[in-house]
Symmetry: C2
Subunit: 345 residues, 2 copies
């Protein structure tokens, strides 16, 4: 029920996702009277679908605490997460209020043993291939241990999605000579260097431009920086796209050129379409929850549902558990982390 175009875009997206992955099954949580007529419009989807009626719906502007009070055990958002907890569903997908979704998911599914708090991972297209960047803003600030947790979670996700048994992990840092970065990052680097080989290879520090280059498979950062980096990149991509459109409209010759290059330019447009990489993955909970962009359409939901399918198929939660088991305990103990390390240096 969440997001700008729900439930129509969700149902339509599920129909498109089903065409690509025939053995998907859907449980739609929300207002029966809105969902049922939409299912009539997509008859192929009906046999694969169950509708669970919920009266309570979380609004996009509700505060997480408020949403939790109002919607715990009753709202469509909660019920979707509860279905994961009960083993009825493999993944919960929502285009709703991010804060409420994170609060409910954390409250209902609980953080995995050994993980102090969840993070949100983004799949980021780069010049090399897709990579994982986390945390995208689940929380602000991170001490060394929390950055190490993100590395474990991110590398497990990379192993699921990229079929790479030993993904490389980099810690996002500033590279100029005069600033040495935060103590938390340096300490996390020491721990990860010792643990390198336990389900990932530790590459070292990476800078902002290494994200787009695809220097590593997993970029680890705290949530504030991750959120700013993601949105800055989205803004820059849109900016360059607009520059290109105006350049191609600037004169008669450029219009003719655009006509000839149309199929290549359309392919480029598809490649840069943010809907094709829709879905922030909540990592570190006992169950998978995916946040779709709220403003997306059926194409965006199709992508988020496809991503969910891949994660269920590749047993993400088991992969995280494996990495945690392989992680050398002494590495973590070697560099004790104190409260003060979360401070900027």
């Amino acid at each position: 029920m969440g997001g700008d175009n729900a439930p129509r875009a969700v149902i339509h997206g599920a129909y498109l996702a089903l065409r690509e992955r025939k053995n998907t099954r859907f449980i739609f949580h929300g207002r029966q009277e809105q969902i049922a007529p939409l299912l009539e419009e997509f008859p192929a989807l009906k046999p694969a679908s169950t509708v669970r009626h919920c009266d309570v719906v979380i609004a996009m502007d509700e505060k997480p605490s408020q949403a939790l009070r109002k919607g715990r055990g009753t709202s469509s958002m909660w019920m979707a997460i509860q279905a994961v907890k009960d083993g009825e569903a493999d993944v919960a997908v929502s285009g709703g209020n991010t804060g409420a979704l994170m609060a409910m998911a954390t409250f209902c599914l609980r953080p995995m043993e050994g993980i102090s708090r969840p993070g949100i991972a983004a799949i980021w297209p780069t010049l090399r291939s897709d990579i994982i960047v986390l945390d995208m803003g689940a929380t602000i600030g991170a001490d060394a241990q929390q950055l190490v947790d993100y590395a474990i979670l991110g590398s497990a996700l990379a192993r699921c999605l990229f079929d790479d048994d030993m993904p490389s992990v980099g810690l996002l840092n500033v590279g100029t000579e005069e600033v040495k970065g935060l103590d938390s990052i340096k300490d996390a680097g020491k721990i990860l260097a010792q643990a390198s080989g336990a389900g990932f290879t530790y590459h070292g520090f990476v800078e902002g431009d290494d994200i787009g280059k695809g220097t590593v498979d997993v970029v680890v950062t705290e949530g504030f920086v991750g959120n700013i980096a993601l949105k800055t990149a989205e803004g820059t991509a849109r900016q360059v796209g607009r520059y290109l459109s105006s350049a191609l409209k600037s004169n008669l010759m450029s219009r003719i050129g655009a006509f000839f290059a149309m199929s290549a330019l359309n392919a480029l447009r598809r490649k840069m379409d943010p809907r094709t990489v829709n879905g922030g993955v909540f990592m570190g909970l006992n169950g998978i929850v995916i946040k779709s962009h709220g403003g997306t359409d059926e194409i965006g939901y199709k992508s988020a549902l496809g991503l969910s399918y891949e994660m269920a198929r590749s047993h993400l939660i088991d992969k995280i558990g494996e990495t945690m088991k392989r992680f050398p305990v002494q590495a973590v103990q070697a560099a004790p982390v104190t409260e003060s390390e979360a401070k900027p240096a």
Copy 2:
């Protein structure tokens, strides 16, 4: 003497800058035996130039403390800054070691009264027009007062470069509902809201994608985030540029299209050329120092020198002083800033 292509690229860049701004005068600090033959290659530059011989040159990998010990009072970098202090030069420009340059500039020129520490400002091209973003990594972490200082410095720079008497200022923050940003940012927002009108208009919080949109004239953030945002944007622009090149080479029709659109695509390439916005401005010192990208060529130096000229012409230092005088003292006092506010919330 600093940077990958010095001193040739510097001298060549000065020659190009002089052609655009005839009344520029240059003092070149460095090794006479390397500089003199280059001036012979650009005879038009000779009458506008003075060479000051320095034996000591700071290496790109020297630590700031080391550089300061070795090069204080003797090195080409120090002497260029000293010329600003002595009133011989309006601006010092260097393509050398950023950390050493910042350390020497701070030591030699000293922070302006009322400014706790300097910041580095970038001129950032956006969909609307160029804007200012600071700090780009002069220091890591910032309390509310330091963010307010950056707002004062950045708005003065905007008034100099954009001929706008009341630039808008935004504080970079994460916009999701569940995270409220850092206390330091919230407190800086309160102070700036009270001071709005004193040489700038306070717009409020902005997100990462507002940078590329050009939502405000000045984006204020602490140095770690600013550095990551800048490099992520550079990386994304390069990534999209590469996507475009491969798309246009993908088939015969697209190659024909690229041929017709060549002049428009070349204009786009020039627009996106990072050399045209080269130059990080050290803000908050009693004198102007500009850091050129070390890896740039003569076009990059020409841009950095043109930027320097504009800053001297528009009396940047006076403009900062004016803003500080207009800034209501009670606004700063209204929200006392404590050490703990520099911590992540």
